[in-house]
Symmetry: C2
DNA sequence: ATTGGGAAATTGGGATACCAATATGGAATA
DNA sequence: TATTCCATATTGGTATCCCAATTTCCCAAT
């Protein structure tokens, strides 16, 4: 695999795992040393991550994209019609085997399974549904959205009942797809996105102070902006 | 402005204007000479265009993205819920002044106005509606979609009545936004996208032979794939 | 302790150098 | 004439190099 892709994957992982904090500054030369490649592949990787919105420019410098509550709100709003459409198309195009595979994914998450796994499956569920739609643009868009939501989902406080509710909604969506009840499935997907948004934003808003204390740049909605 | 952005803009324009044909091969060194910059900014520009889907890799080489009829179909499908959502949100958030500005744009297109202008306004209409939604992700997504549709729209045979129909639909959508009749506006947007898709795909399918003869790589739907 | 100013170090943007891999062209051969 | 095969040119990927623009940091003046 090309060095550029290796660096891209590693850096992306560091960002998504909060190994690099939101708002943190990076220099190309630091990355060059960190990943032992020259600046050329480093810059290519940065360019790609910038396109995904995981990295931004601050003047001439590079920063890990801060977590912006207003942006998260816009993302969930953007997601809503995508998820609805994905589910609608999945009803028309998915086979029983496809649905069963996703169901197995959900089933694998039981109390006791570790946090990372819940997090991954909670993301993949939506991507896999999008795949059932057969529309590559829908897949790409939902992948992008989930990546941008991912870090916030780590920071969210996951209570037992809220996790339970999310999974119940996932199951309900899947069941409706299986029965090919497209409009009900779409409506359920919209409900799920809205619930998710409410939980996420409420949690982050309440804990904003704590997040800042942990050194994360968290901006937007409610209090003053104060970019980094 | 940085050289990278200059090269990006110029190359993008060459692609969108069909100055570089779909499927055409480019070497980095040719671009370097063509735009008199070194490979560094050329490669950065290519990376960005690749992210937008206007440029692709073919093995190790770069090619202008071919026009893929199946992809266009998927794009219109993807667009549909975006446009509907944009229109719905515009109803909730747009002011009369915003609507009037877009109306003026439409009015500027009269018989006799040149093709480029119709083409541009036909694109900008959708982007501007998305802007009224206030959601930057919706704007970016629709910009991206319209860019990918743009070349096909040049190739489409625009008959007088079809152009008339498109503008009538634009006006109807705008009127419903003005009256804040969100659901009717969304339904009209969906209808418009579907009409557009039908016109576009019918036209291109009928003329596929002619397009190939003009040296364009046109793939997908109906006949054999035959990548490039 | 605070502030101002300026030299020095560092940074990102661009140009160039180098390399392995691939593509090309043409001569030798059938 | 058609085909094989190898020398050569070209290509994209990477590493460096150079430069102008910032940023950093130290020290003198307040």
């Amino acid at each position: 695999m090309s060095q550029m892709l290796q660096i891209y994957d590693q850096l992306r992982e560091m960002i998504l795992s909060l190994d690099l904090g939101p708002g943190e500054r990076m220099t190309e030369r630091w990355l060059e040393a960190r990943f032992q490649g020259s600046r050329t592949p480093v810059r290519a990787a940065l360019a790609r991550l910038e396109g995904e919105g995981l990295v931004q420019r601050e003047g001439r410098a590079w920063i890990v994209a801060p977590i912006d509550l207003r942006e998260l709100e816009a993302l969930e709003e953007f997601r809503e019609p995508l998820e609805a459409m994905a589910v609608r198309l999945a009803c028309a195009r998915a086979g029983e085997a496809d649905v069963a595979a996703i169901e197995a994914m959900l089933d694998a998450c039981q109390p006791g399974v570790k946090r990372e796994e819940w997090h991954r499956v909670g993301t993949d569920f939506h991507v896999e549904i999008a795949r059932l739609s057969g529309n590559p643009f829908l897949v790409r868009a939902i992948e992008g959205v989930m990546a941008l939501l991912s870090r916030a989902r780590w920071l969210e406080v996951w209570t037992e009942p809220s996790r339970e509710q999310a999974w119940a909604e996932h199951r309900r969506i899947l069941a409706l797809i299986r029965q090919k009840r497209a409009e009900e499935a779409a409506a359920e997907a919209v409900r799920h996105v809205r619930d998710t948004r409410d939980r996420l934003l409420r949690s982050l808003n309440e804990d904003r102070r704590g997040l800042r204390a942990r050194g994360f740049a968290v901006v937007g909605a409610g209090a003053g902006a104060g970019a980094r």
